[in-house]
Amino acid sequence: MSIILLQSLTGLASAASLFLVAVGLSIIFGVTRVVNFAHGSFYMLGAYLAWWLHQWLAAGALGFWVSVVVAAVTVGLVGVLVEYLILRRIYKAPELFQLLATFGVVLVIQDAVLWVWGPEDRLGPQVPGLDGAVLIAGHYLPSYDLFLIAITPLLLLALWWLFQRTRWGILVRAATQDREMVAALGVNQTRLFTAVFFLGSLLAGLGGALQLPKGGADTLLDINIIATAFVIVVIGGLGSILGAFLAAVLVGQLNAFGILVFPTLTLALMFLVMASVLILRPQGLLGKPESAAPPTGPPAPRLRLPSRLSLMLWLPLLTGLVALPWFTQGYVLVLMVDIFIAALFAASLHFLLGPGGMISFGHAAYFGLGAYGAALLVKYLSLPMLPALLLAPWIAGLGALLFGWFCVRLRGVYLAMLTLAFAQIIWSVAMQWYPVTGGDDGILGLWPAPWAADRISYYYLSLTLCALGIYSLRRMMFAPFGYALRGSRDSARRAEAIGIAVRHHQWAAFTIAGVCAGLAGSLYVYSKGSVFPDVMAIPNSVDALIMVLLGGVQTVSGPLLGAAVFTWLHDELSRLDYWRFLLGLSLIGLVVLFPHGLGGIAEQWRSRRISS
């Protein structure tokens, strides 16, 4: 009994900083409609800054609290800088582009932190006066935990007062409901947005700084906390402060008790709860349902059949690829296999995003299911390469069939978060189900069959399979099935009113995209000889998104171009020390300068030529 009390108090203590991060994310989203991926980085920055300031300032109680406050305000200012330099320019861009730009900020901050503070984990200081422990029901609970438990409701109260009782807070709430109306009433929107960003980032920084004595600071904080913050915000309801509080408490308890009950499923547990909330009550516990008004954005550009000219370009390209091994047998072939796999992966995501109109932030799940599927088939059933290679994609397809059923019920940001949640579930299972998946150590020794073992044979094998996969996806896009899919994206209402079962088509497309991503995954396993949980982590999903974005979402060949450029750049840049910094900067620049992607430039040029 007493252990339950203790665990629940520990859970409550951890809810404090979870609440701070989540509520910041939530109010930023509420007003600006931007899901800020970099919010977790602000949290990490808060932790590092507080640690660093505390080293500088003399020890003592005052030193710690000054560090916390200064760190929080500094992070708030960093937030303002990010808003001013980047987000302000893309408020009107599609959600996907905003997510990618903020992910660029994540990468930049990651490497900046690494550069300034190095890779070592930083231990948090003891807080003078709160460094003891209190005996509760026969167990010791750190005094600092009690302090956190006590201030969480106070913070909630302060925020509640700010938003309910001050003029500024009322404006923010009004803007959350109707931005245009608030602007029409003469409120300076630009300043309001910046101020909201300052507050939100400050809260994230405060959360990181307050958590410092408990968890210290390390370079993985950002991704870990942002995933949790997404979960909390979705459970509580986007834009709801009280909802974020309740959800933070819930998730804190879930984590505290999950360790006791399902020690191997703690990570998945949180995401399972989020997935159930999204399915049963998509707007979250206390969120308001989005208005069902039809989207008003400009229609997607027309998808044109490949012209003669482009066929004339494809043929020599394919011939060149087939002939390549005659000219070189070196590392280029390995790189090319990477590109083929990336191209198929990107094409499968593009199928979902472009014609399907469904945002996925967790496409790596199906790549990973294909990869692990092949690896497990080899390890436990000792299947030879070819059957494993051809069966594994269907395992990914099964996963997509299952998750897709839920996903096609949601739209926009909520859909993106649900796909992310599913990917995190799969990832955490691979990570924590050690006896089967080997956890962090991965599965090793997965080499191609003897006939495909040499570089050239595997090159041809992957070229054939990837080309077949990509060609099939293209055929489908221009076949009646693709028309139905594009029609459902353009206007679900119209599609239903001419007999198209919109969800069925989207569900099928989700599954097909899963199968193709799975094929890419299983080819990947045999090209590397091993598989690790990384293949389904968030960065891999984002890589695929970058490739599609780079090539242009609404172009047919764009994703292939994007995959080639990205894989090559990745290969070149990853030899540099701070390549993520550069990648992040390029990502931000790309979104800000070319919101239609590289392929989109050609498309624009063509439409200009036609109209003139």
Binding site: P294, P298, P299, A300, P301, R302, L303, L305, R475, M476, F478, A479, P480, F481, G482, Y483, A484, R486, G487, R489, D490, S491, R493, R494, A495, E496, A497, I498, G499, I500, A501, V502, H505, A508, Q554
Partner: protein, 246 residues
């Protein structure tokens, strides 16, 4: 025997009854206008009949098939075509492709994953466009069409599966007066030729009284009058509540 039988149809938004115990019938080939002030529940009624909204009570039978509870795509398959108050079309596709997609759906070819869709049903699609006077714009993107033209495309799409009943929610909203009269003339002509029943809403009373066989008048979700154009025009309740005569 009437084609459509609506019995006790009701829909509440919170405490407000948008459609309140509504009953009426539409005969085979009949042109029935539903009129009433803004907020009377006309669009809600259309969305209930078309399956875009779920009703709270009542029954809607189309030649003995219960429509309530069916998804919109199933209702369409039973022979109900519809156009929307705010036009809905496939903006990234050409006018011709919009019609082709409706025809593909009618012929149950939507799941065909391999053969190119461009070649399917071109002559039929062109004929439909000819019928609504849009043949010249067949290759243009639907996303850049003028509003009136979009209404015509919607009409052609709705006719693609040779419906028995057309639901047209303000088919002429946002059009110039001359265009309105012309479009309604076209609708009536096609409907008479193919024995299609039409249920439509319209604010232009000239159009309504000229083309409708029968009228029903809605106010606060309830039917306050029904009958021939002449009898409805003479109805004192309709005059005070809607037509604005005192």
């Amino acid at each position: 025997m009437s084609l459509l039988q609506v019995q006790g149809l009701s829909k509440y938004f919170g405490a407000v009854a948008a459609v309140d115990d509504l009953s009426f019938t539409v005969a085979e080939g009949e042109i029935l206008a539903m009129i009433g002030p803004n907020g009377a529940g006309k669009s809600t009624c259309f969305n209930l009949l078309g399956g875009q909204l779920a009703a709270d009570h009542g029954s809607v039978r189309l030649a003995n098939h219960e429509l309530l509870g069916l998804p919109a795509y199933r209702i369409w398959r039973l022979g109900v075509g519809r156009t929307f108050q705010i036009t809905a079309s496939f903006g990234s596709m050409s006018v011709l492709e919009n019609i082709q997609l409706a025809l593909l759906s009618h012929h149950r070819r939507l799941w065909q994953p391999w053969r190119r869709a461009t070649g399917y049903y071109r002559p039929v699609a062109s004929a439909l466009l000819e019928q609504v006077g849009m043949a010249a714009q067949a290759e243009r993107s639907c996303g850049i069409l003028a509003y009136g033209d979009l209404k015509r495309v919607e009409l052609a799409v709705a006719l693609a599966h040779q419906p028995r009943l057309l639901l047209m929610d303000e088919p002429t909203a946002g059009m110039a007066p001359a265009e309105r009269a012309e479009l309604m003339r076209l609708v009536v002509k096609i409907a008479r030729e193919h024995t299609i029943a039409v249920l439509f809403t319209e604010h232009d009373m000239d159009v309504v009284f000229r083309h409708a066989d029968r009228l029903i008048v809605l106010d606060h979700g309830q039917m306050i009058a029904a009958g021939t154009p002449a009898s409805v025009r003479a109805d004192p309740l309709v005059q005070t509540r809607y037509l604005g005569h005192s």
